[in-house]
């Protein structure tokens, strides 16, 4: 059975790219494109892994991550954060709120695959 991954990202082209890469690697990729109702999507999907962009319309990725970590059922879900703002500040922030991995755009497809695989140990 394929592992489920939830991708929360607002840029359609990036969604398309990541979906393509992960699908090819055998993941069941679900996507969500805004921050407002991202938590609903997280609960619905009950994903094994969440890929979360920091800058989302409606709600910041950090806030969503805080909610995830505060939620009893979801708190253990590994989260990979993506950001286009390559500042240390963002990295620290991500670590503090409980991100498992942090990647700066643009990334190489191989790195994404490697990260995703290592986070969901099979």
């Amino acid at each position: 059975m394929n592992k489920k991954v939830l991708l929360i990202e607002d840029e359609p082209n990036i969604i398309e790219a990541i979906s393509f890469i992960l699908s090819r690697d055998g993941w069941d990729v679900k996507t969500h494109a805004n921050g407002h109702d991202a938590m609903d999507a997280v609960r619905d999907r009950a994903a094994d892994l969440i890929i979360l962009d920091v800058m989302l319309p409606g709600r910041s990725g950090f806030d969503i991550l805080k909610d995830i970590r505060a939620d009893g059922a979801l708190s253990d879900t590994p989260v990979l954060m993506l950001t286009a703002r390559g500042q240390d500040k963002d990295r620290e922030m991500a670590a503090r709120v409980g991100a498992n991995r942090f990647m700066t755009k643009p990334f190489s497809n191989a790195d994404v695959l490697e990260a995703v695989r290592s986070m969901v140990a099979t």
């Binding site: 082209n13 990036i14 990541i18 755009k105 643009p106 190489s108």
Partner: protein, 896 residues
């Protein structure tokens, strides 16, 4: 021979009669009856207290010694009286309007109600008047002694002194009875004035009777009398110029300055109109009084023994001729002169002493409680009575101590010079606003000292107060300080010498010190009121009553409310009353309205006071109010300037704070922008990298996929380029390196182009335009303008959060500008963000997707290049931008 007993009896009857007259007059005044009490004739007659026993008896003595010179004593007052329009009118008006009680009060009021000045004037007046009272007592005792001698019952000097004592006591009792009956604010004494008027008639009648007797009874007619004068030692008019002019001036000055003259002329004045009658009647009275003086003197010199006292010719001539009745009448004349002078002088001085010396000391000693408990009145009355007794007693004492030896006229003139020292401060106070308290005190002190040193002290004889050597060699042996030849002015008559130096130095010091010192505000206010006392009462005719007041009111209101407001108010009121022009009638309604208006500016009490001053014609003149208003305005201006400065500082501080906030925010913005620009650059790059890797690494991609991914790469590359273009564009615009392409076109077309370019022609986003109003020609860089419109419109599309978004575009022409408003129905931009939206790199919401935050910054720069503006319009229930463009940009640029 007339017996002394008869004389005493007649005297007593006369005194009882005077008491009765005074009593009746007081009663009549109390009951409001007796208009005759207030007739101008009574006023004129009361002025005759100028003619004391000195002039009654002494004038003949004066004439017997130095001929016609005695008339100078009457010429001075005559000139003052006929010149009433200059001085007396003003003094009387001020006296009435300021409720002046004495000359000390007048001078102190004028110089800021200074009590030290009042005390000084009072003391000088007492010093100057006491010998004069002694003189009156002496004349009465002397005239008694004449009768006593002829009656052979004489009791020697001791009885003379007892006579003086009884006379003094009687006068004190009379004065206290009628002089302190009431303590009116206006200090008028009807009984006393009436008795004095009666006495004036008696003394004139007595002197005329003696004169007629001498001319027609003794000499046998006018021609014979003239021949007799020609044959007498005084047949030649031998006067020195300095004495003639000096004595005339001195008597004029004394007439104004003598406390008793001030009392009857100003304080007892019932009606200013009385001055008009007095202006001619009193000179006539004086003329009549002096008419027979030379004949009596000439006949007396011829008929009486050489050792006879010429000062008593008036009495001794009838007596010698056996006319006892005439002699008694003459005695009554002299008695009247003496008593009336003592009574009025005692009243005047007691007012000064009690008001300026006793009462302040008493109040100071008893503290505040007395003012509250209200027994001030009884204390004032007591003080007044004690002062009267004290002053009369002082006169008696002086008479006892001096022994009454000196010639009568001499001491009269010395006294005149003393009170004449008031003249510079008095006249300066009436006519010169620059006169001030320090100057007045300095002048008075110097004048009084010179008078004391050069005249008063030497008059006691060579050895009494000043040692012989001082008189001969001067003080400290300095010859220029000889009392009667100051500064080497030798050979002058002592009186003229003293008048000249004391008044010259007094005036000079008064003037110079006034120039050099600075008055207190109250002095300036009082000075204005005194000098300008006539200006509020107005001399114009009756017609001006209403409108003149309105005009005054308008002038005043303009100063308070501002010219246009006041004029509008007055014009409105005039229209309301149906009057053409600017000035309404001062009806109660209008006055109330005006008062309300003014009280808004100056407070209710002040407004009421100001209006009632003008309309009620009260004591403060319009000019004074103006002066006060101006000073207030200056103070207000000063304080408002201070306020403005404080405000400016506060504003600067606020600006600094705002600038600081902006800088902080900009710094935050800059950081945010760097993240943003990073994000904006990395996002397309992410796609490009991801898809290029996919295309490189993935095998078996369909052609569709390949096409799709390569077009994504292409689009993202274009996006990157556009971002870089924007940055470049902004940089170019900011450095004014942009080349503009001027075209003429139609606003509507530009909007069409912008709307289609912004891609809002999609369903769900409505653009509301009124095309008919957009048909406006303009000359500008239309491409750049379209760029601005596109930016604004696409912002609305991006950020309008209404469920049913509508963008209203409204165009209009205003002057040389076109105004285009873009208003959406979203939540708009929060107030705290409005200041920042045109800054570079700013983004309204951090989480909102969109451009790099350069759009509006570019718009602002573009509009600046097009000589227009783009601003945020607050309060439109949505985000609203206003673009203002000059219709002809080149014309606008030329105008700049």
């Amino acid at each position: 021979m007339a017996s002394l007993n008869v004389l005493v009896l007649v005297c007593l009857i006369y005194v009882i009669f005077l008491f009765a007259v005074a009593f009746a007059a007081d009663r009549a005044a109390l009951h409001g009856r007796g208009a005759w009490l207030r007739s101008p004739i009574v006023y004129t007659l009361s002025l005759s207290i100028y003619c004391t026993a000195w002039t009654f008896y002494g004038a003949v003595g004066f004439a017997a010694r130095s001929g016609l010179e005695y008339v100078t004593i009457y010429l001075g007052p005559t000139l003052v009286m006929i010149g009433w329009w200059w001085t007396l009118r003003k003094m009387v008006r001020i006296g009435r309007s300021q409720r002046i009680t004495s000359i000390a009060d007048l001078i102190s009021s004028r110089y800021g109600k200074s009590n030290s000045l009042a005390v000084f004037v009072t003391v000088l007046a007492v010093i100057g008047t006491t010998p004069y009272i002694a003189l009156q007592l002496q004349s009465v005792t002397l005239s008694f002694s004449i009768f006593a001698e002829t009656d052979m019952i004489s009791g020697g000097p001791s009885s003379q002194q007892s006579t003086a004592f009884w006379v003094a006591s009687g006068l004190a009792v009379f004065t206290i009875l009628f002089g302190t009956r009431n303590l009116d604010a206006n200090e008028r004494h009807h009984g006393v004035v009436m008795a004095i008027a009666l006495e004036a008639v008696v003394k004139l009648f007595a002197l005329l009777a003696v004169g007629v007797f001498v001319v027609w009874g003794l000499s046998g007619g006018v021609a014979e009398t003239l021949a007799q004068i020609d044959a007498s030692p005084i047949s030649q008019f031998e006067v020195t110029n300095s004495r003639w002019i000096g004595l005339t001036m001195l008597s004029a000055a004394a007439f104004i300055c003598l406390p008793r003259m001030f009392q009857v002329m100003v304080v007892e004045n019932e009606d200013e109109g009385h001055l008009r009658t007095a202006s001619w009647a009193f000179p006539a009275y004086l003329m009549a009084m002096s008419l027979f003086v030379v004949p009596i003197a000439a006949v007396g010199l011829e008929r009486l023994p050489a050792d006879a006292n010429p000062d008593l010719f008036v009495l001794t001539l009838p007596l010698q001729e056996g006319r006892d009745g005439l002699a008694i009448l003459s005695f009554l004349g002299g008695f009247s002169s003496a008593t009336s002078m003592v009574i009025v002088a005692a009243i005047a001085l007691s007012t000064m002493v009690s008001n300026h010396i006793v009462m302040p000391i008493w109040l100071w000693m008893s503290g505040e409680s007395a003012m509250v408990s209200g027994d001030v009145r009884s204390v004032a009355l007591l003080a007044r009575r004690l002062s009267i007794a004290g002053i009369v007693f002082l006169g008696y004492l002086y008479f006892r101590v001096s022994g009454g030896g000196a010639a009568l006229a001499a001491i009269g003139l010395i006294s005149f010079v003393g009170v004449a020292q008031f003249l510079p401060s008095l006249m300066g106070g009436l006519f010169w606003r620059g006169a001030n308290r320090v100057g007045a005190i300095a002048g008075l002190v110097v004048g009084a000292m010179v008078w004391m040193y050069s005249l008063f002290l030497p008059s006691f004889g060579d050895t009494v107060f000043l040692p012989q050597q001082v008189i001969e060699n001067g003080l400290f042996g300095l010859s220029w300080l000889r009392p009667q030849a100051l500064f080497g002015a030798e050979g002058l008559d002592p009186i003229v010498h003293a008048v000249m130096w004391s008044l010259l130095l007094n005036t000079f010091v008064f003037f110079v010190v006034s120039l050099l010192s600075f008055p207190r505000p109250i002095e300036r206010l009082q000075g204005a009121q005194f000098v300008n006392v006539f200006q509020h009462s107005g001399t114009a005719g009756s017609w001006s009553g209403g409108l003149a007041q309105s005009e005054d009111l308008l002038i005043m209101s303009q100063r308070i409310m501002g010219a246009s407001e006041a004029q509008a108010l007055f014009a409105g009121a005039a229209r309301h009353q149906g009057i053409a022009g600017l000035l309404p009638e001062p009806t109660p309604d209008f006055l109330q309205q005006l008062e309300r208006e003014l009280s808004g500016s100056v407070g209710a009490a002040t407004a009421h006071a100001m209006i009632s001053q003008i309309v009620g014609g009260a004591t403060v003149s319009v000019e004074d109010l103006m002066a006060v208003a101006d000073e207030t305005a200056q103070i207000m201006e000063y304080s408002s300037r201070l306020e403005a400065k404080t405000e400016e500082q506060a504003r600067t501080a606020r600006q600094l704070r705002e600038a600081n906030e902006k800088l902080t925010q900009l710094s935050v913005q800059k950081d945010a922008f760097l993240s943003q620009i990073s994000h904006e650059l990395r996002t397309p790059m992410t796609s490009i990298r991801a898809f290029s890797e996919i295309m490189r690494d993935t095998e078996g991609l369909t052609e569709d996929e390949q096409n799709k991914y390569s077009s994504i790469i292409h689009d993202e590359a274009v996006r990157l380029t556009r971002l870089l273009d924007d940055l470049l564009d902004l940089s170019v615009l900011e450095n004014a390196q942009v080349v503009l392409n001027w075209q003429t076109g139609n606003l509507s077309e530009v909007l069409d182009r912008a709307i289609s370019a912004a891609g809002v022609n999609e369903p769900g986003f409505k653009v509301d335009r009124i095309r008919a109003k957009e048909q406006l020609e303009l000359r500008s860089d239309l491409d750049r303008l379209a760029q601005v419109f596109i930016n604004v419109i696409s912002n609305a599309r991006k950020y309008c959060d209404a469920s049913d978004p509508v963008l209203r575009i409204r165009s209009k022409q205003s002057g040389g500008n076109l105004i285009v408003d873009f208003i959406d129905n979203g939540s708009g931009i929060p107030t705290d963000k409005q200041a920042l939206i045109f800054e570079k790199f700013s983004r309204i919401g951090e989480t909102k997707a969109g451009g790099a935050g350069l759009g509006l910054a570019i718009c602002r720069e573009v509009m600046a290049r097009l000589s227009g503006t783009i601003t945020y319009l607050p309060g439109q229930n949505g985000a609203a931008f206003r673009v203002t463009i000059p219709i002809d940009v080149e014309a606008a640029k030329a105008a700049e």
